[in-house]
C-alpha cells in the first residue's frame, strides 16, 4: 500500500515540490498550510509520515509537533522537519520538540525518500 505523507508548509512552492517528489516515489500526499490546518487535516486522515516546516503562521512547526506528540491518537506518527540550515542547533531544537528526523532544504528527492524510509516502514 502506498505511504500517505502529510506535508505542512505555508509555502505553496515548497508544498508543490514535496508533492512532485513524493508522488514520483509512489506515495500519496495530503497537504496543510500551517500547524492549525495540519491538526485539522489529521482529524480526517492517518498519514504514515508528517513532513512539516517550522516557520508558519498561526501555529508553527514546533507547536504543531508538540501538539501531535501530545495527542494520543497521533503521537506515534513519525514527523520530519524541513529546515533551511543543517546545523546541529536546528536539529537539536527539532529533536527537542519531538521530531523524528529532518530534511534539509533545498532537498534532494532521493534523500527525501530515504529519510521517509528511515522513519516509516
Amino acid at each position: 500500500m502506498p505511504k500517505t505523507i502529510l506535508t505542512v508548509d505555508d509555502s505553496r512552492t515548497i508544498r508543490e515540490m514535496l508533492k512532485a517528489a513524493l508522488i514520483d516515489a509512489g506515495m500519496e500526499v495530503v497537504q496543510a498550510e500551517d500547524g492549525i490546518h495540519g491538526l485539522e487535516v489529521l482529524e480526517t486522515c492517518a498519514p504514515d509520515v508528517i513532513i512539516t516546516d517550522i516557520n508558519m503562521p498561526r501555529l508553527d512547526g514546533f507547536g504543531f509537533i508538540e501538539a501531535v506528540r501530545g495527542s494520543e491518537k497521533h503521537r506515534a506518527i513519525p514527523i520530519l522537519v524541513l529546515t533551511t540550515e543543517s546545523t546541529d542547533d536546528k536539529k537539536d531544537r527539532a529533536r527537542r520538540a519531538g521530531a523524528s528526523g529532518w530534511i534539509i532544504k533545498p532537498f534532494d528527492p532521493v534523500k527525501l525518500v530515504s529519510a521517509i524510509n528511515r522513519v516509516a516502514a
Binding site: 509555502s11 516557520n55 503562521p57 506528540r69 494520543e72 546545523t87 532544504k105 533545498p106 528511515r118 522513519v119
Partner: protein, 778 residues
C-alpha cells in the same frame, strides 16, 4: 509544461504575494498599528522567498533575502529598535528584494551597486560591520570546495540561535562546467565523500554496530526495527539482541526501552553511510560503530535465522507497546506519587509526566492566540484562460437569452403566459450568472496601490522631497485587465504629483505647511464605476505658467479666454509638458496626454481640479469590466450601431434654427450658446454619400479625448442596452471608426463606435470630400 516549470511559476506567483504581504506589513508597522504577528508575518514572507529561491538555485536572491531576514529577525527579537528610519530601510530593502525576484523571473541584470549598498545598510542596522574581510580562515580550511564568505551574509544568530557559517560554494570559479541540475532543478553541492572519508574507504569488510535505543527514540515515533531494516539494505548482517534488562511483564514501562543490539554488518558502504541511518536518533540512543576487520560469521543461513528471530521479537515488542499504549497513555500520568515503594520504572514515567502533560496545553494556548489571527481564506487557483472562456460563454448566453426573449415577443405570446414568465426568470438568472462570473475576474486594487507606495518612495528620494502616501479603499474591486493597465497611468500621475506638485521641504515650511507632503490615493465605487483619486497637497497648478506654455507651443491662441478649469485641462493636451527641462522623474517624453489616452482606452475618464497653494486632484473614473459595455443602440443608414454610453453627454432633436453652416461643408449646432461641430456618422463611415438632413436626425452629443464636444448625427435611437464586447481585431485588424462589435438580441451584429476616431476622422474626411468636390467641379 513540466512539473518543475509549473512549480517555478508557482514560486514566482507566491513571491508576488509574499512581497505584497511584506510591504503591507512594513507599512502597517510604519503607521504604528503593527503587533508581534505583523513582524512575524513580515519575517515569514522574506523567509519563504529565501526558501523557494534556494530550491531553484537563485543565489543572489537567497543571499539578499538572508541578510534582510537577519535584520528582520533582529526587529522581531527586539535586538533592533523599530524606528521610522529602520522601517524606511526595510521598505527600501523590500524594493530591492522585489527587483531581485523580478530579475530572477524575467532575466536582466541586477543593480549590483544598489544591492551591495542595501546589504551594507542592513548589516549596519544589525550592528555588524560589513566584513568582506571576514577571513577565509574563519571557514573550515580543509573542506574540499572553494569556500568564500557569502557576500553580505550577516553573522547573526538566526531564529534558532544559530550563527550561520559564511560559506559560499562558487561553482563558476571552481568548475568550468555548470553544476548539473537534475529533473527537480536541484543543483547538487558536490562534496567528495570518498575523499573526505578516505580512511573509511581504505577498508574493511564491514562494521560492528552497538545500538542501544533510549525511551526518547520511541517517543519521537522512531523505531529500532525500521532502522535495522534500513541497515539490512547495506549488506548482510548478524544481529544479536541483549534483552537481559527487560523486566517482568508487570514492571514493563510501555514507553521504556530495554534492548541492546549488536549488529555485525558486512558491507562495502562507508561508516558515514552507516551513521547516516542513525542520524535522526543520534542523541536518543547509544551508538558505537567500529570497523570490522575480521570475525564476521560466514554463515548466511545462521545469520538469517538470527535476524528473523530478532525481527520477530522486535515486532512483538512493538505490538505489545501498541496494545498497551492507548490505555497507558493518559492514566499513567495520574500514577499516585505517594504510591509506596514505587517500581524503578515509575520514576522516569513521573518525570516524563509533567512534560508530556504540559505539551497539549502549549499548543492549545497557541491555538487560542491563533484564533484571533486571520485564517487563510479558502481560495482555489484557476487558470485565467478558463475564466475568460467562462466569461465568453456567459456572454453568448446573455446574447442567446435576449434573442430568445425577442423571438417570444415577436411571436405575440402574452406577457403573463408561462413562457414569458419563465423567460423573465431566465433573464434574471442570466444577469446573476453574468455578474457572478464578472466578479471572478474582479480583483482588489490593493496590489497596484502597494506598487505606488514604492513609486512614491523612489521619486521622493530622487527629488529630495519628503512625501507620505495615504491610501484608502484598497479593497475596491476592478476587473483584472483594468488593474493591470492602470499601473502605468497611475505611476505617471504619482510622479507628476511629487515632481511638480509637492514643494521642497524648505518651501513647504516657508508656506507654513507640514514639512512632509502627502499624496492620497482613494478608490471607491460610484454608480457602477470605480473612481480613483490621486490628490497631492502641493502647490497646485501654476495657471499662468501653463497658459504661457500652451501659447508658446501653439496649443491655444494668445488671446484665448479660458476658465481656470480649461487652463488646468491644458496639461492633458498632446505635446504639452510643463517641466522647463525634462526631469528624470516625470519626463521620459510622456505627457499627461498619454495618461488620458490610456485611461480612455480602458473606457475611463480622467479629470483634474486644482487649488493654488493647496494641491491638485486627479480623478479617474473607470468601468468595472472590459467585457461588457453600456451602450446606446442607434441606427444609421439602415445599419445598427452602438455608441458607448460613457462618451454620451446628451441627445437632442436639432431644430432648423440651431443648425449653422460653416464654410462650404461643415455644420455646427448651437446648444445653449455654444457652437458644436455636427458630424454625420453615416457619411464618415461611408454608409452614404450625401449627408442626412440634421432636422430629420437625432444629435447624440459626445465628449472626446480632449473633452471637446461633438454632435453625432444618427437616424434614430433604438434604446439603451448592455452589450457584450466582441473584438474584431483578430479577424479584421483595426478598422477605422470601429472599436469592436457585439451581437444584439435579434441576432444582428452591431458595430461599437470608436467615437474619438470618428470625431478626429470627420475632420480629415470633410477635407477629402471638399477636395473631391472641388476636383469634380473643375
Amino acid at each position: 509544461m513540466d512539473t518543475m516549470a509549473a512549480i517555478k511559476q508557482t514560486f514566482f506567483q507566491e513571491c508576488e504575494e509574499q512581497l505584497a504581504e511584506l510591504e503591507d506589513g512594513l507599512l502597517t508597522i510604519e503607521r504604528e498599528e503593527g503587533d508581534v504577528e505583523t513582524i512575524n508575518a513580515v519575517f515569514r514572507a522574506v523567509h519563504s522567498i529565501k526558501g523557494g529561491a534556494g530550491a531553484f538555485g537563485l543565489d543572489a536572491l537567497v543571499r539578499f533575502a538572508h541578510t534582510f531576514e537577519t535584520t528582520l529577525d533582529g526587529m522581531r527579537s527586539g535586538r533592533i529598535e523599530i524606528t521610522q528610519q529602520i522601517i524606511k530601510l526595510m521598505l527600501r530593502s523590500a524594493d530591492v528584494l522585489s527587483d531581485l525576484v523580478r530579475i530572477s523571473r524575467d532575466g536582466g541584470a541586477a543593480d549590483e551597486a544598489r544591492v551591495a549598498q542595501m546589504t551594507e545598510e542592513l548589516q549596519k542596522a544589525c550592528g555588524i560591520e560589513p566584513a568582506p574581510a571576514a577571513p577565509a580562515a574563519a571557514a573550515p580550511a580543509a573542506a574540499p570546495v572553494a569556500i568564500e564568505p557569502v557576500e553580505g551574509a550577516a553573522l547573526v544568530p538566526d531564529e534558532f540561535g544559530f550563527v550561520p557559517t559564511p560559506v559560499h560554494f562558487d561553482f563558476a570559479d571552481e568548475q568550468p562546467e555548470e553544476p548539473q541540475v537534475d529533473e527537480f532543478g536541484f543543483a547538487p553541492v558536490k562534496i567528495d565523500f570518498d575523499e573526505l572519508l578516505a580512511e573509511d574507504a581504505s577498508h574493511t569488510e564491514g562494521f560492528e554496530i552497538r545500538f542501544r535505543p533510549k525511551p526518547e527514540l520511541y517517543a519521537k515515533a522512531n523505531d529500532a526495527l525500521r532502522l535495522l531494516r534500513e541497515l539490512g539494505r547495506m549488506g548482510e548482517m548478524e544481529v544479536t539482541c541483549d534483552y537481559s534488562s527487560l523486566p517482568h511483564l508487570d514492571a514493563i514501562d510501555p514507553e521504556g526501552a530495554y534492548f541492546d543490539w549488536t549488529i555485525k554488518l558486512k558491507t562495502d558502504g562507508t561508516e558515514a553511510a552507516v551513521r547516516e541511518i542513525f542520524e535522526f536518533v543520534e542523541f536518543d540512543c547509544d551508538l558505537e560503530v567500529r570497523p570490522l576487520i575480521s570475525g564476521f560469521v560466514e554463515a548466511p543461513e545462521e545469520a538469517e535465522k538470527v535476524v528473523k528471530e530478532v525481527l520477530a521479537q522486535v515486532a512483538a515488542e512493538e505490538q505489545a507497546e501498541k496494545a498497551v499504549a492507548p490505555v497507558a497513555a493518559a492514566p499513567v500520568f495520574e500514577v499516585k506519587p505517594a504510591a509506596p515503594a514505587p517500581e524503578p520504572v515509575a520514576a522516569p514515567v513521573q518525570e516524563a509526566a509533567p512534560a508530556v502533560a504540559a505539551a497539549p496545553a502549549a499548543p492549545a494556548a497557541n491555538a487560542a492566540a491563533a484564533a484571533s489571527a486571520p485564517a487563510p481564506s479558502a481560495t482555489i487557483r484557476v487558470d485565467l484562460d478558463r475564466v475568460d472562456r467562462l466569461i465568453d460563454l456567459v456572454g453568448e448566453l446573455v446574447i442567446n437569452q435576449s434573442m430568445l426573449a425577442q423571438r417570444v415577443m415577436e411571436a405575440g405570446i402574452a406577457r403573463l403566459s408561462d413562457v414569458a414568465v419563465g423567460l423573465d426568470d431566465l433573464e434574471h438568472l442570466t444577469r446573476e450568472i453574468q455578474d457572478s462570473v464578472m466578479a471572478i475576474r474582479a480583483q482588489p486594487v490593493r496590489p497596484i496601490f502597494q506598487r505606488m507606495s514604492r513609486v512614491v518612495r523612489e521619486v521622493a528620494d530622487m527629488t529630495g522631497k519628503s512625501v507620505r502616501l495615504i491610501t484608502e479603499g484598497e479593497n475596491c474591486e476592478v476587473d483584472k485587465t483594468v488593474i493591470e493597465r492602470l499601473a502605468d497611468p497611475l505611476t505617471h500621475m504619482i510622479r507628476n504629483a511629487i515632481d511638480h506638485g509637492i514643494e521642497k521641504p524648505e518651501d513647504r515650511i516657508a508656506k507654513g505647511k507640514p514639512e512632509q507632503g502627502v499624496v492620497r490615493m482613494i478608490a471607491a465605487h460610484r454608480s457602477g464605476r470605480v473612481v480613483i483619486e490621486v490628490a497631492d497637497d502641493g502647490a497646485g497648478i501654476n495657471r499662468q505658467r501653463v497658459r504661457d506654455i500652451a501659447v508658446k507651443k501653439g496649443i491655444i491662441s494668445p488671446d484665448a479666454q479660458l476658465t481656470d478649469a480649461e487652463i488646468d485641462d491644458l496639461i492633458f493636451a498632446p505635446g504639452f509638458s510643463t517641466a522647463e527641462k525634462i526631469s528624470d522623474v516625470s519626463g521620459r517624453g510622456v505627457g499627461m496626454d498619454v495618461v488620458r489616452r490610456s485611461i480612455q482606452a480602458l473606457g475611463g475618464r480622467i479629470s483634474i481640479s486644482s487649488r493654488p497653494g493647496q494641491g491638485t486632484t486627479f480623478t479617474l473614473s473607470l468601468p468595472l469590466t472590459l467585457a461588457v459595455l453600456d451602450g446606446m443602440v442607434v441606427t444609421v443608414a439602415g445599419q445598427t450601431l452602438v455608441v458607448p454610453l460613457s462618451t454620451i453627454v446628451e441627445t437632442l432633436q436639432p431644430k432648423e434654427s440651431d443648425i449653422h453652416g460653416l464654410g462650404e461643408k461643415a455644420r455646427v449646432i448651437a446648444i445653449r450658446g455654444s457652437f458644436i461641430p455636427l458630424i454625420d456618422v453615416g457619411a464618415v463611415l461611408g454608409y452614404r454619400e450625401v449627408e442626412a438632413d440634421p432636422v430629420q436626425s437625432v444629435a447624440v452629443m459626445v465628449e472626446t479625448e480632449n473633452q471637446s464636444q461633438c454632435a453625432l448625427m444618427v437616424d434614430a435611437i433604438i434604446g439603451q442596452q448592455q452589450v457584450v464586447i466582441k473584438s474584431l481585431e483578430t479577424n479584421y485588424g483595426h478598422v477605422f471608426g470601429v472599436a469592436a462589435a457585439t451581437i444584439l438580441g435579434d441576432g444582428r451584429v452591431a458595430v461599437i463606435l470608436d467615437v474619438d476616431a470618428i470625431v478626429a476622422g470627420s475632420r480629415t474626411e470633410m477635407a477629402r470630400i471638399d477636395a473631391n468636390r472641388k476636383r469634380n467641379a473643375a
